[in-house]
Symmetry: C2
Subunit: 513 residues, 2 copies
C-alpha cells in the first residue's frame, strides 16, 4: 500500500523493530473482532422475527421456478409442494441448516497466507461487485472493460485492507456475456493470490469456475476444501429462480461456498417496514440454505442480506438511510442465532460521484457492517450510484475505511503500555507528551494513518493545490497500478488455465445473454 | 426545514393524517433513545480506568492555576493542597459528584416547547462551536462576522434536527473580543427560541450572560431553573486555569449548567493510548465537576470529553480515526457509571472542504456519538478543518445526518403494522409491493427522506447539472435564510436586552483580548 514507505521512514532502531511488528500485523488476512456486536432487538424481538419467518415459510412458501429437481428435493425432505410453490413446516429449514451447515469455514487462497476464515469472530472485506460502469476523475463514467476489471483485481491485491479479491468487481462489457466469466476468474487467479468468487450467471459458468479452480488448486484439494465463494441472490419476494438455484447446486455439489442472499429494496421487493424486511429475508435465506444443505450436507453457506430502501417519490433505490442499518443489525443477530456466517453491508451509496453524499451514505452502511459483526463484506470498496458504477477514487477512499475498521475492531489496549500511567506520572500537569518516552516508544503504531486524508494546515493544503479527497485518491490508485507486481504462478498451471479457457471459448459462439 | 413542503404534498386524507402525526413527531425537541449503547470495555476494563483516574488524582493531582479560592475550597473538602497543585484522596471526587450532581436535568428555552432534557436516555444536538473562519461555496474561506453568526443561529433555529442553538457557533471577528459575547448571547435569544450557551472567555462575560438570561427569562425563573449551559475546557494535561474556573464558578453560583470538558489531542495533551486518554479525561473531569459541586451542590454538570489524535509526522490534529472512537465509547460508559450526563462527539473532521474526507471523518465520530448514547452533542453541524472553520454547506449536510440519527434511535417497530405479515401474505411470491395497501398506508413515514441526497438516475442527475452534495446544500441554506422568520419576542424584553448591552458596551473600551 502506498502509505507504507512513509510509515517506515523514521524512528531509529526501536522504530524499525516496531515497523517489523507492524508489517506482520498488516499481513493478517482478515479481521478478528474483539467487541460484542451492537444489538437493536432483544431476545423477544428476535424470536418474533424468527416466528414470522416460519409463518411466511409455512403459509405463503417460496417459489423455486424452473427447477423441478429442486422442488422434488425439498418435497422429499418434508416440504409441501404445490407446483413450483414450496411450503415448509415450521422449524424444518432451521433444523436442516443447523444439522449440517458449518458455523465457520476456511476459504483457501492461491497464497496459503491469504486464506480467510468466514464466520465469527472474523470479518472479511471484498471489493465492489456487479457494476456495468466504471468512473474515474480523468475519463468520467464509461462502461467497464476487462482492463478495468484487471486493474481492480490488482488494486485489491495491493490493498492491505481488503482480504478477498471478490468476484464481478465490474462487468467487463468488452467481452461477450457468455464468456466473460472465464476471463474474470482467470484474472482473479493470475493477477492476485487472494481468495475469490465464482460465476453464477449460468450453471455452466459455475461449472467452468469450478474447473478453473481445479486447475489452479488441484482437483483433490478442491474436493476437500473451499476455494471459492459465490453470490446466489433470491429474486425477492419469495422466489428462487432456475439460474441461481442451478449455480448454487453446482457449487454445493463441488463443496464450494455460497452466499445465499435475498436482495430487497424495501417498498418494492418487500413491505416498507424493517421488521417485515427481516422476516422475509430470513424466510428466503432459510429456503435457499436448506436447498444447499439438501444438495450436499455440510457445504458452506452464508446467510446474506442486501437490504435498502427506495425513494417513495421516484422509486429509486436509496442508500445510507437509517432503516436499512436497523435491518442489518437485526439480520446479523438472526444469523448468529441460526449459527451460520453472515454477509451484508459494504460502502454503499446512491451518489454518482465520490463526494460527501457518497461518503456519508457509505459510512451509514459501513459503520453498522463493522459493529454488527458482518463476517463477509461484499462491496467494501468502490461502490457508486446504487451499484451501477465502481469508482477508482471511491475504491481508494473506501479501502482506507476498511483499514480503520481493522484498528477499531481490536478495541482498547489495557496492557501496562496501553494504560501508560507512568507516562502521566512522569509528565505531570501542563507538560505536553510530544517528546515523552512513552510517546516515542509508541510512535509508529499510535494512530491509524490514512494515506488519503489531508490533515495539514489550511495554508499548506492551499500551497499543495487545494486538492480534495478524490483528487488525492486519483494520485494513489495510479501510483499503485504503476508499482504493481504480479504474484508468482507456476507456468504450467498458467498454461493449463489458458488452454482450458481457449478451448471453452472456441466451443460455443459468442452471446450477449 | 426545506424538505417539509415536499413531504406534505401528497397522500389524500390518510396522507394528511399521517402528515399531522409526523409534524408532531418532528417537533419533539430532542432524541429519546431506545437502544442500549455499544460498549468497548467490560466491567473489569471500566473499573481499571476508574482506578487509574483515581491514581492520577491521588498521586499526580491537578493544578488549579491563578484561583487560590478554588484551591482553598478543594482543600477544605479534603484534598491535599501544595501551592496550586491539588491531590485528591481516592474516591473523594466521585463521592462529592455523586452526592449532588443531577443524573438528568432540563435546560429551558425561551419557547417552552423547545426545552431539552440533558442526561439519559436523551440526546441533544447543538451546532459547531468556536470557529474563527467560515466557508461557503460562493465566497470561500474568510473570517466569521456577526452576520455569519446570526445566519447560523437562524439556520439552527430552522433545522428540525438540531435541538439547541449552541454557543459561539462561529467567532464574530468584526466585533471586539471583549464585547462579542453580548452580541452572541443576544442573537441566540432574539433570532431563535431554542436553548443556548453562555460565554466563558472571562468571568465577567459569564456574568453578562447570566444577566441577559435574567432579562429574557426573569430573574426568579433563572434562580430556580437551568436556562444556559456553558463550555468549560480543561487546559490538559491536568490543569484548570483561572478563566475557566472563574466562568464555571459564575455559572454554578447562578445554578446554570456547565460542560466540564478535558480537550485532549492524544500524543500532545496526553499519552497516545486510548486507555490513558480515558483515565486522564476522567481524572480532569472529576476534578472540575468536584469544584462545581463544592461551589453549589446540585448545579448541573455534564462530563465532557473532546478527544482526538494527532499526526505523528506533523503534529496536526487528525479526526475520524478509529482510536478516538474507542475513547468516546469508553468515556460514555464511564459517565453512565458515574451517573452524570455526557458530552462528546459531533461531526468532526480535518478536511478543509465538505468533501468525502469531511464526510467519512465526520461519520466516524458521529456514528459513535449516536451509538455510545452521548447526551449533549456540540459540533453536531458545520465543523471543518479541525474546528478552525464552519461551513454553510457542511452545516446542511451534517444536520441531515442528525435527522437520520433520530430515526435510527427509535429502533425497529415491532407493532403489527411494523411486522406487516398480512402484507406479505396478500402479495405472495414474485409480486412487488409498490401498490400494496400496507405500502400506501405507510407511504408518508416509511423512510427517512434526505433533503440533500440525490437518488435520481444518472441521466436525470446529469440533466439537472451534475451537482455534487455541497452544491445542493448551497441551494438549501440560501433558501432557508430567505424563508427565515424570527420567533416572536416581547418588545419590552427585547428593549431591555438591548439597553443592557448598550450600557455594558459603553462602560469599558474595546479590546482584542
Amino acid at each position: 500500500m502506498t502509505d507504507e514507505p512513509q510509515r517506515r521512514r523514521s524512528g531509529g532502531r526501536a522504530g524499525r523493530q516496531e515497523a517489523r511488528l507492524h508489517a506482520t500485523i498488516e499481513r493478517l488476512p482478515f479481521l478478528t473482532r474483539t467487541l460484542a456486536p451492537f444489538e437493536v432487538l432483544g431476545e423477544e424481538g428476535l424470536a418474533l422475527i424468527e416466528h414470522n419467518a416460519d409463518t411466511i415459510l409455512e403459509e405463503v412458501g417460496l417459489e423455486f421456478r424452473g427447477d423441478p429437481e429442486a422442488v422434488r428435493l425439498l418435497g422429499e425432505a418434508g416440504a409441501a409442494v404445490d407446483g413450483e410453490r414450496v411450503r415448509f413446516p415450521r422449524g424444518m429449514c432451521r433444523q436442516i441448516v443447523q444439522a449440517s451447515a458449518p458455523r465457520v469455514f476456511t476459504q483457501h487462497a492461491r497464497n496459503p497466507e491469504r486464506a480467510v476464515r468466514i464466520g465469527d469472530p472474523y470479518t472479511v472485506f471484498a471489493p465492489n461487485y456487479g457494476s456495468p460502469f466504471v468512473r474515474d476523475l480523468d475519463r468520467g463514467r464509461r462502461y467497464g472493460t476487462i482492463e478495468d476489471f484487471r486493474n481492480f483485481v490488482k488494486l485489491t491485491y495491493m490493498s492491505p485492507h481488503l482480504h478477498h479479491s471478490g468476484g464481478t468487481i465490474c462487468e467487463p462489457v468488452d467481452v461477450p456475456v457468455n464468456k466473460r466469466h472465464l476471463d474474470m476468474v482467470y484474472s482473479h487467479i493470475r493477477w492476485s493470490d487472494k481468495p475469490f468468487m465464482g460465476s453464477v450467471t449460468h450453471p455452466d459458468r459455475a461449472r467452468d469456475s469450478v474447473e478453473l479452480a481445479r486447475i489452479a488448486f488441484g482437483a483433490d484439494f478442491v474436493r476437500d476444501n473451499t476455494v471459492m465463494i459465490s453470490l446466489i441472490n433470491a429474486n425477492s419476494p419469495l422466489v428462487w429462480d432456475a439460474t441461481m438455484v442451478g449455480a448454487a447446486r453446482v457449487y454445493a455439489e463441488a463443496n464450494q461456498a455460497t452466499l445465499i442472499t435475498p436482495f430487497i429494496l424495501a417498498g418494492a421487493m418487500s413491505p416498507v417496514t424493517a421488521a417485515a424486511v427481516c422476516a422475509q429475508t430470513l424466510a428466503e435465506a432459510l429456503g435457499g440454505m436448506t436447498f444447499v444443505q439438501l444438495v450436499r450436507p455440510g457445504a458452506p453457506v452464508v446467510l446474506g442480506s442486501f437490504a435498502s430502501s427506495i425513494s417513495m417519490q421516484s422509486g429509486a433505490p436509496t442508500f445510507g438511510t437509517p432503516e436499512p442499518a436497523l435491518v442489518l443489525y437485526a439480520m446479523a443477530a438472526l444469523a448468529r442465532r441460526l449459527g451460520v456466517p453472515f454477509r451484508s453491508g459494504g460502502n454503499l451509496c446512491a451518489s454518482k460521484v465520490a463526494d460527501a453524499q457518497a461518503a456519508y451514505e457509505s459510512a451509514a452502511t459501513f459503520g453498522p457492517t463493522v459493529l454488527a459483526g458482518v463476517n463477509f463484506v461484499l462491496h467494501a470498496a468502490g461502490w457508486l450510484e446504487g451499484g451501477l458504477a465502481i469508482g477508482y477514487e471511491k475504491f481508494i477512499l473506501d479501502a482506507d475505511q476498511c483499514g480503520m475498521a481493522a484498528v477499531f475492531s481490536k478495541g482498547i489496549d489495557l496492557s501496562e503500555n496501553g494504560q501508560a500511567l507512568d507516562a502521566i506520572r512522569e509528565n505531570g500537569p501542563g507538560q505536553h507528551f510530544l517528546g515523552s518516552a512513552h510517546t516515542l516508544a509508541n510512535f509508529e503504531n499510535a494512530f491509524y494513518r490514512s494515506p488519503v486524508a489531508d490533515n495539514n494546515s489550511y495554508e499548506q493544503w492551499l500551497e499543495e493545490g487545494s486538492l480534495d479527497a478524490p483528487q488525492r485518491a486519483n494520485v494513489i490508485w495510479k501510483r499503485m497500478l504503476a508499482e504493481y507486481e504480479a504474484p508468482p504462478i507456476d507456468p504450467a498451471v498458467d498454461e493449463a488455465l489458458q488452454d482450458f479457457i481457449a478451448r471453452r471459448k472456441a466451443s460455443f459462439p459468442d452471446s450477449e445473454v
